[in-house]
């Protein structure tokens, strides 16, 4: 592992300037102790601004989420903008959005781990945290949506005094089972690779942090057997959680696709939603990585333009796939001639929400394609932040178009009515604030970079000369 650093910067005598391979984290190794210290410092560093943001977010949650929710529970769902025929509104939009956000974590850490994409190493944890925290928001949105939230436990299948079990014919029960599985599995999957890093933090902490890390690192020392068990369990998870991830968003889409509604009853909804989830999820990883890189100490070493470049490439492919599925979902009803589906398509593109529909296409297709084709631009973090925000706006709008806008058109024309959200807006802001607050606090409590995985990766990379070029080669020890 010591061989890499010197050999990279070999000044070439050739006409073409050799590439500086130091830009790659895996080829720019630092001693583990130094990386540990950098990560520990990033966890310990807080500023007045940081606490200011924490207090601001906490107050936002208090008023926009807890306060508004309490008022809604006390008053009833009448305080929302929901009505006939929009029985589902922004709460479900938010739920689908947050589950979409949660997909990126698993996609990046599990799929890229299985595929041995080395570039994943520094940001798997950041993405997995998004999964767990995103799912918390999704669960809150489900609870927000229920008319009698205090009875939400009736959906849990357990022997009970009511002598009735939930209805497994209902797509909502499939959804409940799938989301429960995903929440539990992704939280365990977040925790397992965290154990060695918590042990690292334990060795470098004092006071309350020592107590905390001692407790949650479970007494892990790094014995060969402990590593073996950890790797075995992680391997099982990495393979098993990928189909679960696909199933979760498919089942979410089935909430809509199983119904008789025009525009919802579509066989393509499953993959369309999965791709949409990855689209917003990958974009959200870009946002989170930009925030980590620009606000936390020492993170410019770990999170580099190459990572934005990679995510940008991924995002471009997924944006194209999304466009393909969107077109498919549009073409079939357009061609089919079902009266209500045609009315719905017309309502989408020419109705009062047409501007929303058009901005969905601009945000999800036009802007990403215009920017992401260029490698130099993909390597520009602030530009990727912009793209990430634009795609997330676009994907939120996509769900808005699918849910309340499409619900406007029913088979009973005299019930048609536009949706005007009211208390949904502060509650949505509240879930965003809670996500950000959880992330901010977690960023100071757990190592956001899996240092051991970075070191493992760096030790597996060497640079090799092929002709006059220096190329990377990766050993396959793990």
């Amino acid at each position: 592992m010591a061989t890499t650093a010197e050999s990279i910067a070999m000044p070439g005598a050739s006409a073409k300037k050799p590439k500086d391979l130091h830009e790659h984290l895996m080829l720019d190794p630092r001693p583990r102790g130094e990386m540990n210290a950098m990560v520990m410092e990033s966890m310990h560093t807080t500023s007045k601004k940081f606490w200011g943001v924490v207090v601001f977010l906490a107050l936002t949650i208090l008023f926009a989420l807890l306060g508004a929710w309490g008022y809604m529970i006390a008053e009833g769902m009448g305080v929302t903008g929901l009505t006939r025929p929009e029985y589902w509104g922004i709460f479900i939009v938010d739920m689908v959005f947050w589950i979409g956000i949660s997909h990126a974590g698993t996609f990046i850490s599990a799929l890229l781990r299985v595929m041995k994409y080395e570039i994943r190493r520094p940001f798997t944890r950041a993405a997995e945290l998004m999964t767990t925290f995103g799912l918390i928001q999704a669960a809150i949105c489900i609870f927000l949506h229920l008319g009698r939230v205090w009875l939400a436990y009736w959906l849990v299948p357990y022997p009970n005094g009511r002598a009735i079990w939930p209805n497994f014919h209902s797509p909502l029960m499939w959804d409940f089972m799938a989301i429960t599985t995903y929440v539990i599995a992704s939280t365990m999957y977040l925790f397992m690779p965290l154990i060695p890093d918590l042990a690292m933090a334990r060795d470098r902490s004092t006071g309350w942090r020592l107590g905390l890390y001692r407790l949650i690192s479970l007494g892990f020392t790094g014995k060969a057997a402990e590593w073996k068990f950890l790797k075995t369990a992680m391997n099982i998870f990495a393979f098993a959680i990928i189909p679960v991830m696909f199933s979760v968003h498919t089942v979410v889409s089935w909430d809509f696709a199983m119904s008789t509604r025009p525009g919802w009853n579509s066989t393509i909804f499953g993959p369309y939603f999965v791709i949409g989830a990855l689209h917003s999820g990958i974009a959200a990883v870009m946002i989170v990585l930009f925030m980590i890189r620009s606000t936390m100490k020492n993170m410019k070493y770990f999170i580099r333009p190459e990572h934005f470049e990679f995510l940008g490439k991924l995002s471009l492919i997924i944006s194209m796939a999304w466009a393909y599925f969107f077109f498919n979902d549009y073409l079939v009803p357009w061609y089919g001639g079902n009266k209500f589906e045609q009315l719905l398509l017309d309502f989408h593109s020419h109705g009062p929400f047409a501007w929303v529909w058009v901005s969905m296409l601009i945000c999800n297709i036009l802007i990403p394609w215009m920017i992401l084709w260029n490698k130099k631009w993909r390597k520009t973090p602030w530009l990727m932040l912009v793209v990430g925000i634009v795609i997330n706006i676009g994907m939120w709008i996509e769900r808005f178009v699918i849910i309340p806008v499409s619900l406007t058109i029913t088979r009973m024309p005299f019930t048609w009515r536009l949706y005007h959200p009211s208390i949904e807006i502060p509650l949505t802001i509240g879930t965003f604030a809670l996500f950000m607050l959880l992330y901010l606090l977690a960023s100071r409590l757990i190592p956001l970079v899996p240092v051991w995985e970075v070191q493992e990766g760096q030790s597996a990379h060497i640079v090799r000369k092929v002709g006059k070029a220096m190329v990377t080669s990766v050993s396959n020890v793990d």
Partner: protein, 174 residues
């Protein structure tokens, strides 16, 4: 029998560690007696040590089966107890069963793999351990028992192979 103590030899790199393991083998320390502690994972092949058996995959398969059986109960047992007609659908529906069976099988698989990690690794343990904090700085340690008389011999052997430190350790609270 003479007093024994536990020696910990700290290496910066994997290659000298592996040489040291061979040396310890030749000096009569078997694989069962020594332990390798490291800040990043090295598999048995890299260390040249025998396979560490693990029951986690088998346990996980068992968990998956339990999950599947629970799904069978939920879809085919519950309607048997409380048959309710909804929307003219069959009381024992097959396609929804596939969905529930998939989710619960996966939950059982992953849940028991997670529990298996705890059982196999005897985690969590908060007892005193043989450990030095340098290990999470990426160092690799060999921990092995030796008698007091042989201590100097082992220390020399380890240092000649590139050990940064060789010192007796005692279990302490982490």
């Amino acid at each position: 029998m003479a007093d024994t103590l536990t020696l910990l030899a700290l290496f910066a790199d994997i290659d000298p560690t592996v040489d040291a393991i061979d040396k310890l083998h030749s000096m009569g320390i078997t694989d069962e007696k020594m332990d390798v502690i490291s800040g990043i994972p090295f598999n048995e092949e890299v260390l040249g040590r025998p396979d560490i058996p693990t029951f986690i995959p088998r346990l996980a398969m068992g968990g998956a089966m339990i999950g599947f059986i629970v799904a069978l109960f939920l879809i085919f047992g519950i309607p048997g107890l409380y048959p309710l007609n909804v929307g003219g659908q069959p009381v024992f529906p097959i396609p929804p069963f596939i969905i529930i069976a998939f989710e619960l099988t996966m939950l059982g698989l992953m849940g028991t793999a997670f529990v298996g990690l705890f059982l196999a690794g005897h985690l969590p343990t908060y007892e005193p351990k043989l450990y030095v904090p340098e290990l999470s700085d990426g160092k690799i340690a060999l921990v092995f028992p030796c008698s007091v008389e042989q201590q100097a011999e082992f220390v020399d052997a380890m240092q000649s192979l590139g050990a940064e430190q060789v010192r007796p350790v005692e279990a302490k609270t982490l």
